[in-house]
Amino acid sequence: MEQMSPLSRRRLLRAFAATGAAALFRPQLASSQQARVLSKPIPSTGEELPAVGLGSWITFNVGNDTIARDACAQVMRAFFDSGGRLIDSSPMYGSSQKVIGYGLTKLNRPPSLFSADKVWISSGVRGPDQIEASRRFWGVPRFDLLQVHNLLSWEEHLRTLLAMKAAGRLRYVGITTSEGRRHGEVERIMRAQPLDFVQVTYNILDRQVEDRILPLAQDRGIGVIVNRPFREGELLRKIERHPLPGWAAEIGCASWAQIILKFIVSHPAVTCAIPATTRVDHVRENMAAATGVPPDEAMRARMIARVEKL
């Protein structure tokens, strides 16, 4: 596993300390709206971003079902109330963008929103039209972050996104991949292009990115967004039947979900993890994972050893 540099470690500890000592050993407090959430700087600008965001893959694709849309809006409300900012979506996710737009309207467009979407179309020429359609679905004046989804036609789309950023119509640019695919190409793009963010899969069992992607992101000053922190729930289903380890309380974790998330966001290269959920209690639980004590290197090793044994 990649070792954290003393500097970044110190910075991380400072950031966690700033989230409030009151949350120490008291995860129930961390789940309340008062608990301050760990924020991390976006490397390219220094803008602070809460370390836990909200994904929308599958969970927000509920079509025109008003009851389900309202439930998603409640999840978004709990997310913002808990200090969350970044919501991530994609044109690939069915109705998720429209459902996010519906939720934002219901919540009177929270000003703290950090809107992260993607461009996902094989034609580079049609990229701007898709981006504009996505923007209208969200109902935002402009996106904070646009990413090239799964590197699809990345050269053409990246040109578009960088031009949008230069024109002031976009704040950040990124690329995404998932489940360890095409890491070689991701690395090459990270080295050659002026990216603000890279989005990858990383969790306590899928740690492939620790070898090269995460150190490279630190070297190049690229923020890292982590998708599939729970392997779409499969990881939690596997481990949740086991009792929490005794050391969970030491790092302020009251659930396995918090242990998994805290492991991810405690990596100094990670800017934000984006778990998706349909439940208000889960979004609060997820946000609470970004409060309290960060696991140190020894604790991270214990966390890995424990989960790998389950």
Binding site: I58, T59, N61, V62, G63, N64, D65, A68, M92, Y93, G94, S95, E179, G180, R181, R182, E232, T278
Partner: protein
């Protein structure tokens, strides 16, 4: 798609089982009482199947084509498309199948059914009856509410499986008519399998049975046609 071997079926699933079945619930509420007409149409196919007559092929083809078009528009385009961007492509396939049914059964009058003619005819009739009468009960038997029931002429799977029953029972095999139903059974089966639905294999099983019987019928016909 690069590194295709790293993808699993669940990577292509865009929605949760809850959303998928809730869609049927909302759809059933929206199109009620068309279910009554759909069942009457299904019974009409059965009556024409058993009684025969000069209008059998035309009537059966028009009824099936109407059901395919209705499902294409009311379900695939108007509802399923809201959670699955591929649904509009599926709808095109359904429309093609409807056109082929009209061409074969109505215009060419080539979709004649005779009960008890051979094994394929008997199995085809059983599949049709299963799709018409048993399919609506499946969801309830598996613990889903009545409102989420899937009915011939309204929902895709029972409509497709019923059509397979008709096609393998027909006097002549029309392979061009089998393509879309077989593909749909594979797609639907894969979707339900990814959602870990216990009934995931039903439509693919019906498709496999239809495929085997279609091959058997075609080979039998070729054997009969060959000299000596």
């Amino acid at each position: 798609m690069s590194e295709w071997w790293t993808y699993s079926l669940s990577d292509f699933l865009l929605f949760s089982p809850r959303t998928y079945y809730r869609l049927f619930e909302l759809y059933n509420l929206a199109v009620w009482p068309w279910h009554v007409l759909a069942i009457v149409l299904g019974l009409a196919v059965l009556v024409f199947w058993l009684r025969g007559g000069a209008w059998q092929s035309r009537t059966v083809a028009v009824i099936l084509a109407t059901c395919w078009l209705f499902v294409a528009w009311a379900y695939l385009v108007a509802r399923y498309d809201t959670i699955n961007w591929a649904a509009s492509y599926f709808a095109v396939g359904y429309a093609v199948e409807a056109l082929l049914l009209v061409w074969t059964g109505l215009i060419r009058n080539c979709l004649s059914l005779r009960p008890g003619r051979d094994v394929a005819g008997a199995v085809g009739l059983c599949i049709f009856v299963l799709a018409l009468f048993v399919w609506p009960l499946l969801g309830r038997l598996l613990g889903r509410p009545w409102l989420q029931t899937e009915i011939f002429g309204i929902a895709p799977d029972p409509t497709v499986v019923a059509t397979l029953g008709v096609l393998i029972a027909a006097d002549r095999m029309h392979w061009e008519l089998l393509v879309v139903p077989l593909l749909w059974c594979a797609i639907s089966g894969a979707t339900l399998w990814a959602m870990q639905s216990p009934d995931a294999l039903l439509a693919p099983a019906a498709a496999l049975l239809a495929l085997v019987l279609a091959c058997w019928k075609t080979l039998s016909r070729l054997r009969q046609a060959s000299p000596g």
